[in-house]
Amino acid sequence: MIEKQTAMKFDERIAWCKEQIEDPTLPTLREFKSRNGSRSPIVGNFPVWAPQEIVHAAGALPVTIAGGGSNLEIDHADSRVQSFVCSLSRSTLELGMRGYLEPVDAMVFTSICDVARNLGGVFKRNFPGIQTFYLHCPQNVASPAAVDYFATELRRFRRAMEDFIGDGITDAAIARSVGIFNEHRAALADLYALRREHPETISATESYLLLRASQMMPREEHTKILRATLAELEARPARRRDNIRIVIEGAFCEQPPWELLESIEEAGCYIVDDDFLLGSRWYDAPVQLGEDPIRSLAEAYVRQSVSSSVRHYGGRPRVDDFTHKIKANRVDGVIFCAAKFCEPALYDYVLLKSVADQMGIPYLAFEFEEKMGVFESVRTQVETFVESILLFAD
C-alpha cells in the first residue's frame, strides 16, 4: 500500500487523502483488515489523545476515530445523543450503529470532557463486539503524585491490551514504538515549521488532509509519506501572496470540513499554525526514553503535553503558552474556531481572546460543525477580517 502513496505525485497523494476522509465507511481500515485479518487488530480512539504507542507495541493498528465527517447521514444516533451535544459524539456513535466500525476491534476513550467520558459508556453498552477502554488522564499535573498515578493507569492499559491480543508486550516493543511515534511527530513538526516559515509552499488545507490520513494508517508508513512530501515540496513552485498570517485555535477534537479551511485560505489567510488533531502532535519535544518506557510515557504526558483545553495547565498557565504561540508564529490575527457545543474550547475562548486583546492582536470567532455544508458566510466574515487587518496595517 505504502509504495503506492509514496510514489504518487503531490496532488495525487492529497487527492487520495481527501478520498479517505470523505468516505465515512472507513475504506482504509477495511482494506487494512482484509489484508491483515485478525493478525493485526485495529484499536481506535476517540480524540483528543490516547497512548497509541502502547497499542502499536501490541502489534495493533492505532487509529483516531474522529466522527463521520460531512458525508455521514445521522439516522440512528439522534435517539441516543441529545441535540445540545457536539456533532462529533453523534457521528462517531452513528458510525458504530451503521456497522461502519466493523473493522475496529477496540475503542479507547479518555477524560477529555464530560461528553467523551459518557460516550465511552454508551459505546460499551451498544457495541459488545467492540472492546471499550476508558483511561483517566491526570488533571493535577502539578502534583508530584501524577506521574506515579498515570504510570499505573498506563500499565493497566498495557495489561488490558495484552489480554486483548492474548500475548505479552515487552518493554523493548514499547520503546521501539515510542521511537516510531517520535519520528512521526518530528516529521509533522517539520511540516508545521515549513508552513510557519514558507506558508506559500503548502496550503493548510493540504497539510490538514495529510494529517487526517495519518490517523488512519500505520504511523511508520505515514512518516514515509510525510518525508516524501517534504522532499517534493522543496522543488514545488510557490509564489508568496499578500495574505495575513493567522493561527486557528479551538478545533483540537471535532475536525472541521476541509472546505472550511480552504474558504479561510481563499479569503486571504496563511494559516501558519493550528490545533487540528492535536493528539498527533501531543508533546512539545520527543518523548525521552528511560529504563521503563511506560514511566517515560507517563512523564511525557504529565510534563511535556502541549497546552490544550482538555488537560489542566498545572503550573504552566494556558494563557502563557498562547502568548508564546502568537509571538512565535508572528501572526497578524487569530481565528477562534470551536466546534459547536464543545465546552472546553468555548470556555477557553473567553480566556484566550483576552490574551489577544492585551497583545493587540485582532481575532475572529465562529463555530463549526463537521457537517456544515455552506461556507460562504465564513468566507465573507474572514474576508472582512482580512481587509480590516490590512487596512489597519496601512
Binding site: D114, R117, G121, Q139, S143, R318, V319
Partner: protein, 423 residues
C-alpha cells in the same frame, strides 16, 4: 434551598434549612473584611471537613447559582457572562457565577466573599476545571486541582485512592501555608464524627420514602433537605438539623400526611431540577399525585444510602473514598444499576429523566439510559428536557404535554391491568 409552598402539613425542614443557609451566607458576607480565609469548592465530592480543619469559610459557586436560579436572577447573570464572550451553549451555572463576578459579587444572598483558595474537586465534571480556571484568572488566587479519577471499576480503586491521598497531603500543606495554621488530625476526626452522625440521620430520612404512601418527596423536598449535609457537614447544627427533619417525617407518618394529598404514582427522578421554574415544574407532577420516592440529584454531593460513611478512624482515606464515589463520577452502567435498585427498593411505577442542557456530565448518555429502561428493564420512562439554570430553556406547555401524556398512559395501563386481573 429556598421557599415554595407544599401540600404537606409541615414545613419544619424547609424553614430550618432556609434559616441555616441565611446564617451561613451572612457569615460569608463579612469574611473578607474580617480577614477570615475563604475557600471555594464544588458540591460533588467536596472535602469540606479538611478545609474546616483550617477554619476556612467554604463557598460553593453551584449553590450560589441555584440560589440565583430559584430567586429568578439567573437570567440576568447569564446574559452578563454571554456579553463577556461565553457561548449560549455552555453551562448556565458557570455563566451565572461569571455574571456574579461581573455584578460586584452581589446576588440575592447579599455580598459574596472572594476566595483565598480555589479547590477544584474534580469528580463532578470537566466543566468544573474550566470554571475554576476562569475564577483563578480573575481572582489571581491559588487553584488546587484535586484530581478524582472517574470510576472505571474495582481494579483501579487502590491506585486511585493512593493518588488522591497524596493529593490531600499536598492540599494540607497548601492550606497550612495560606492560613498559617498547623494541620490537626484530631480536629478532622471530630468533624468527621459529626458528618457521620448527620449521614446516618439523612439515610433514615431517605429510606422513609420506601413507605407507601411516602411521607416526603425524595426529589422536590430532598433538594432542600440536602443543603446542610452538602454545605455545613461536620457541624453540630447540621446534625441537629437532620434530627429535626427526621422528627418531622415521623410526625407526618403518624398524621398520615405527605407531599401530595393522595399518592397516585411513585417515580424515581434522574437529573437536576430546573431551578428558575422549580415550583411550576413540581406542580406539573403534583397535579397527577406524583411523588418522587428516590432521586439521583439528591445524591450529587454524596451517596450514603448504600452504606458509605465518613470514617473518623481513617480520615484522609475516607475523604478520598467519598470524593471517588459521588454520583456524577459513576459511569453509565453504575448509574443505571443505582436507578434500577431505586426503582425496585422504593416500589416505583416509573422513571423520569430530566435532561438538562447545561450539565453534560449528567445528560450525555441519559438518552441511552432511557433505551435500557424501556427496552431491557421494561420500566415506563419519561424523558424530558430543559435546563437547571437558564430560564430560556424551559417550555411549560411542551413539558406539560409530555408529562400529562405519560401519566395518562400509566393510569390507563393501570385501569386495563386491574380489569385484566378482575376477569
Amino acid at each position: 434551598m429556598a421557599t415554595s409552598q407544599t401540600d404537606t402539613t409541615t414545613n419544619t425542614g424547609r424553614d430550618l434549612q432556609k434559616q441555616l443557609l441565611q446564617n451561613w451566607y451572612s457569615a460569608l458576607s463579612h469574611a473578607n473584611e474580617k480577614g477570615e480565609k475563604v475557600a471555594y469548592l464544588f458540591i460533588s465530592g467536596n472535602i469540606m471537613e479538611l478545609l474546616k480543619v483550617f477554619d476556612f469559610h467554604v463557598v460553593f459557586p453551584e449553590v450560589n447559582a441555584l440560589q440565583c436560579g430559584i430567586k429568578r436572577t439567573a437570567g440576568d447573570m447569564i446574559l452578563k457572562a454571554e456579553d463577556l464572550g461565553y457561548s449560549s451553549d455552555v453551562c448556565g451555572y458557570v455563566k451565572n457565577d461569571i455574571g456574579l463576578v461581573a455584578s460586584d459579587m452581589t446576588g440575592p444572598f447579599g455580598k459574596m466573599a472572594k476566595p483565598d483558595l480555589l479547590v477544584c474537586t474534580y469528580s463532578g465534571c470537566n466543566t468544573y476545571i474550566k470554571w475554576f480556571e476562569a475564577l483563578a484568572a480573575h481572582f489571581h488566587c491559588p487553584l488546587y486541582m484535586f484530581d478524582v479519577p472517574f470510576s472505571r471499576g474495582p481494579e483501579t480503586r487502590t491506585a486511585d485512592i493512593r493518588y488522591m491521598m497524596d493529593e490531600l497531603k499536598e492540599l494540607i500543606a497548601l492550606c497550612e501555608k495560606i492560613t498559617g495554621r498547623k494541620y490537626d488530625e484530631d480536629k478532622l476526626k471530630a468533624l468527621l464524627r459529626c458528618s457521620r452522625e448527620a449521614e446516618d440521620l439523612w439515610v433514615d430520612i431517605l429510606h422513609s420514602a420506601k413507605r407507601q404512601p411516602s411521607p416526603f418527596d425524595a426529589f422536590f423536598e430532598a433538594v432542600f433537605f440536602m443543603a446542610p449535609i452538602y454545605v455545613m457537614r461536620g457541624s453540630r447544627e447540621c446534625v441537629d438539623y437532620y434530627r429535626a427533619v427526621k422528627d418531622e417525617i415521623a410526625g407526618r407518618v403518624e398524621a398520615h400526611t405527605g407531599p401530595v394529598p393522595e399518592e397516585r404514582f411513585r417515580v424515581v427522578m434522574e437529573g437536576p431540577p430546573p431551578w428558575p421554574h422549580f415550583r411550576t415544574f413540581w406542580e406539573l407532577f403534583k397535579t397527577w399525585g406524583v411523588v418522587c420516592v428516590a432521586s439521583s440529584y439528591s445524591k450529587v454531593g454524596g451517596i450514603w444510602d448504600f452504606g458509605y460513611r465518613h470514617d473518623p478512624e481513617r480520615p484522609l482515606e475516607s475523604l478520598a473514598e467519598y470524593s471517588l464515589e459521588c454520583y456524577t463520577n459513576y459511569n453509565l452502567a453504575r448509574r443505571v444499576d443505582m436507578l434500577d435498585s431505586y426503582l425496585h427498593d422504593y416500589h416505583a411505577d416509573a422513571l423520569v429523566i430530566h435532561s438538562v442542557k447545561s450539565c453534560r456530565a449528567f445528560s450525555m448518555g441519559q438518552a441511552d439510559m432511557r433505551e435500557v429502561f424501556i427496552h431491557e428493564r421494561n420500566v415506563p420512562t419519561l424523558f424530558i428536557e430543559s435546563d437547571l439554570a437558564d430560564p430560556r430553556y424551559f417550555s411549560k406547555a411542551q413539558l406539560k404535554n409530555r408529562i400529562d401524556a405519560f401519566f395518562e398512559s400509566l393510569e390507563h395501563q393501570r385501569i386495563v391491568g386491574a380489569q385484566t386481573v378482575a376477569h
